[in-house]
Amino acid sequence: MARVGVFVCYCGANIAGVVDVPAVVQEAKKIKEVKIAIEYKYMCSDPGQQMIRDAIVQNRLTSVVVAACSPRMHEKTFRKALSDAGMNPYMLEVANIREHSSWVHQKDKKAATDKAIDLIRMAIGKSIANEQLHEISVPVTKRALVIGGGIAGIQAALDIADARIPVTLVEKSPSIGGRMAQLDETFPTLDCSQCILTPKMVDVASHPYIELIPYSEVIELDGYVGNYKAKIKKKASYVDFSTCTGCGTCTQKCPVKVPNEFNMNLDKRKAIYTPFPQAVPNKPVIDAEHCTMLLKGKCGICAKFCEKGSINFKMVDEVIEREIGAVVIATGYDLWDPKPYEEYGVGRYKDIITSLEFERMVSASGPTNGVPIRPSDGKVPRNVVFIKCIGSRDEAKGIEYCSKICCMYTAKHAILLHHKVHDSHAYIFYMDIRAAGKGYEEFVKRAQVETAATYLRGRVSKIYKKGDKLMVRGEDAQIGQVVEVEADLVVLATAITAPKDNPALARLLGVSYDKYGYLSEAHPKLRPVETAKAGIFLAGCTQAPKDIPDTVAQASACAAKVCGLFSGDTMKKDPMISTINNEFCSGCQNCVKVCPYQAIVTEEIPLGPGSKEMRIVAKINEGVCQGCGSCVAVCRSMAISLAGFTDPQIINEIVAI
């Protein structure tokens, strides 16, 4: 027999001013399950809570109804009061007689009072059907997986590892460093990219809490927050890193030359190579697509010259598993291919290059030793035209969004050009200058004033060849005239795009992505580093175009989130989740279909007690279930019930009126 206590709150005059509280209490007393009904000025106050605690003990109550403000306001407060009195906190029901009665029916005191009584009846009805619930605690595997070894991945990995949490850093290419390693100097301070990046790369390699797995990819992720299991494919490098000293002899001796993607194919690398001199790990890998030994079975010079005998042509891809608790995705960005700009003669003219190609040229360690040249004839350019928004903000040919960093790096390029070629002149065609950021506007000014770059506001409509020059025709909107610039070299500020394999990755990780392929954050403003899937976070350009400061900031934010997640040995979780009654489950798996969190899986259980035959039933994954109840409503055999909102509870509310 249920023993319910009812506690009606005046909330000063907020409730009592409209609802006739004593009458309500009298009504409540008439209900047979009600053992005690009390009114008080402020139930949420300490004396109010004390009254509840005492009543629970004295009347051996089985459940408690508090008639006061919205449960969204004080449910937690009163639950605590219950547990303090040694009662299961989930035996509480709140009748919302303020927001739902006194405040909305101020002119009709009688109706408000009747309604309050009904609301309390309903709450009593529900509370009778309440069950004792206990917070669920989910174990956590304290290891983070970071996907992508660019500056974002590096920063996240280091921050997490510094908190003494093991990190597995997976990088697809042979070395970490990412795009930033390709840059020469960085805006707005012009400090050398390598100089600030390489120390961090070395830290990653040497950090006791970081496991660096280069030249590999994540191919599978199962489980749920705190308890993921990842499968990682290590691509065959054909070089035994454990014995290789990275002396580089093999690379010198290798006869095969291949376009060097690190230098944007402006020069060649060998078929056995380290992407760049400061690579981490500084061990070569063999490019299976070009190595004559692997292709035709002859050559093998590298093996002959390797004193350590580290070369192993028999090596095959290897799949390893890691148990992890959280994932940081930092897959960076790709560059947009400007081919659609046919009117510029892209693809026909060697002397039209992209910004990153220019970046490599002006890089001291680049293919041209830091001197920009014309790919066509190798001459040093004097007049260089930079065209911004190639692909960006272009619905017709490219993408709608702004790539955010082009304004800045183009200004940087103008300055760098001036540094490298003193008698050069930079012309910059732009739509707008977007220099929002610390020291950014000043930096653009510097490009305009110090290096006297000519900023022309307008689009370029045509590029055509005149002798060995490129004639760039565009509009200068500020003087409202068509201008033509005779250029030695044209640099296109191509847009940032999402990595082309982002959608595939998103699908295998179970996170969502937008129409461009950028991974979607859980909330654009309030949860910008989390994905909708608990325990998976986003850092850097994989979420949207960003500059280095923003990327690093987001990476550190991810680290903070991961550390927070791992702060305890287990994660506490609201017990209001679905449970399945195997006896009733017929295994139709409709719940599996509708669950928005893939929280329901199937398991095989014996057909009958001790029977060999198996049957399939659904199984709720406590860690993942968010308690929406979609599965409950689609379960025809009522095998699923949602704690806190069970059918009996709701029906009791309905019939209690």
């Binding site: 909305v104 029916h105 609301l119 409950v632 909102f645 309905i654």
Partner: protein
């Protein structure tokens, strides 16, 4: 069916049983089932901003409109309620990503089926109310209450309340 509604003037007649007229001062009971994240929050906002609406509605809180099993509606109509209002998050805003889309399908079919077996279509109504739409919630409740007052009391299948 609207025509029948129009006839109703001074004395209220039950649409489903034209024979029966409502007792004087009859007030309909409306059960409102609200999702916790949008509509319930919205109804709280209506309260905090002191927007007044008719007192006939009795609100039940569920986590998501997708939790609402059609037989809650049937049950309500069979026992205590003269009408039912179910409210959830706007499409696309569901706190649980897709719950309200599944719910929407069930609601349409249930509504039509109830109407088919002889309940006036206005007995059961649905709305999307976001956490910010306090005023809208008041409007919705007012409209639903108004509709159901016109329909008169519901007697079908209530002869024997178990």
């Amino acid at each position: 069916m609207e025509t029948e509604v129009k006839e109703v003037k001074e004395k209220i007649v039950s649409v489903e049983n034209p024979g029966i007229t409502a007792p004087n001062g009859w007030q309909p009971v409306i059960i409102g089932i609200l999702c916790n994240w949008c509509s319930y929050a919205g109804s709280d906002l209506t309260g905090t901003s002191r927007i007044q609406y008719p007192p006939n509605i009795r609100i039940i809180r569920v986590p998501c409109s997708s939790r609402v099993d059609p037989w809650f509606i049937i049950k309500s109509l069979q026992t205590t309620a003269d009408g039912v209002l179910i409210s959830g998050c706007h499409p696309g805003d569901c706190h649980y990503i897709s719950g309200n889309y599944y719910a929407r399908r069930r609601f349409l079919v249930t509504k039509k089926l109830l109407n088919f077996v002889g309940y006036h279509e206005n007995r059961v109504q649905f709305s999307w109310v976001s956490a910010a739409e306090g005023p809208k919630f008041a409007k919705v409740v007012a409209k639903v209450t108004e509709d159901i007052k016109k329909l008169g009391p519901l007697y079908r299948y209530k002869k024997e309340n178990f």
